[in-house]
């Protein structure tokens, strides 16, 4: 695992053929930040998340982790990144426990107690040996969150983490993200739900049509600010 306290995007662009998914985006995320990456559909949020996760290569510009580029840090960097994408990356034919054991193994973690603890945090202690295909969307979402956080990543990337969660689960996830940020992680969250972002994020980055139109400290009146920049 690589330890770093900041991630910087410097003039990053990503084109898919002739389509510019992300264009000249720059921002810095620091340890303890919860950055709300907001914007309408097609704004480039998921592409930015993919580039931060090292799964998508920028067409131009540079992304550095603690001042060092991903290419220099190699595979060990991936051990410092946790990603919860919109698709939950769970094997539905395996049980919750088998999913966690698999990823614990792939991250080279000592499994003793870790799996039971993760199941308990996800509220799935009683259902650990049930197939994931039998779970509701909310249960899968909670399990996927714990899978993404199993290796205590320094950079936590959450693409719509509140989708399908009831109010109690939303509150649990919010608290979880605030706890890991307070412990020194860098958290980047994309969401369409401005009410959920309000009060959770410490910084706001608003994307529109592939460009970053705002990067500022979070303040009250997020919805009004968003509408003034993006429209409805």
């Amino acid at each position: 695992m690589i330890d770093f306290t900041s991630v910087q995007l410097a003039d990053v662009s990503r084109h898919f053929g002739r389509r510019r998914a992300v264009s000249h985006v720059s921002f810095t995320a620091n340890s303890g930040d919860i950055i709300g990456l907001l914007g309408p559909n097609g704004a480039g949020k998921s592409t930015i998340i993919g580039m931060l996760a090292t799964l998508v290569t920028p067409t131009s510009g540079a992304i550095t982790y603690g001042g060092r580029p991903a290419r220099e840090l190699g595979g060990a960097l991936r051990g410092s990144i946790g990603l919860l994408a919109h698709e939950l990356s769970l094997y539905s034919d395996l049980s919750a426990r088998q999913n966690l054991v698999l990823f614990a193994g792939l991250y080279g973690l000592d499994r003793d107690g870790m799996i039971d603890q993760a199941l308990a945090v996800a509220g799935l202690s009683e259902r650990g040996d049930d197939s994931v295909s039998a779970f509701s969307r909310g249960m899968r979402q909670r399990l996927a969150l714990e899978r993404a956080l199993l290796h205590r990543p320094r950079l936590v990337l959450m693409d719509e983490p509140f989708t399908g969660l009831d109010d109690a689960a939303v509150a649990t996830v919010r608290t979880r993200l605030q706890t890991i940020a307070a412990a020194g992680a860098i958290v980047v969250v994309t969401t369409h739900d401005l009410d959920l972002a309000d009060g959770l994020v410490t910084r706001v980055a608003i994307a529109n049509a592939g460009r970053l139109v705002a990067d500022e400290r979070a303040a009250t009146g997020l919805r009004a600010r968003y509408r003034s920049l993006v429209g409805n």
Partner: protein, 225 residues
Amino acid sequence: MIKVALLVLRKDVAIEARSREIVYTTLFFAVSCVLVFSFAFVMEEGVPVEGAAAGILWIAVAFSGTLALGRTFERERYGETLRALLLTPGSRAAIYAGKLLGMVLLMLATEAVLTPMVAFLFHAPFFARPLQLVALLVLGTIGFASVGTLFAAMLVRTRTRDVLLPILLFPVTIPVMIAGVRGTAALLQSPPDEAVATLWIGLLTSFDTVFLVLALWTFEPLMTE
């Protein structure tokens, strides 16, 4: 690298043990394929067309292998689990190796059913030289699966993957098919032509070495968008 590859393999085996989806569909398709060929190539007197058995065995292996490749990666696409695997810190080549091992095991299991079936229906003395036959099947399977696993992983995000996979895979694996068919046919001659079979085994070994090295080398850059 070996640990990660074995974890990926164990995961695929656990999923298949629970669902049995790919094993059943692949076996059913392969057996159906051989039965259709047997209607075409076995005459009314029960005498098969001479020299057909080797070709039919390898065609059934290639067709059912292509079906299995598509289904294996469809499973990784569903729920974007391949992304999660690629984000783990281990070597991405190890993920390829794990998927390849799973494919090879599945194809060999299919061949274990197909070979006696073809031998029975086409009166083919497959087991006259069992070691050489096993060598041809194992090496041919590794060659086919090494290219197929790479292509199936590359195509996992394309909409036309089901069409593109055989279009890309079959031309590249023509040397495997030729070596497999000619080597097996040499073993079915009376008496078996061991020298010719050994020549094709050597060619398969070379093909496997080249494509395994290429696939392990190119998997990481090819899987980065």
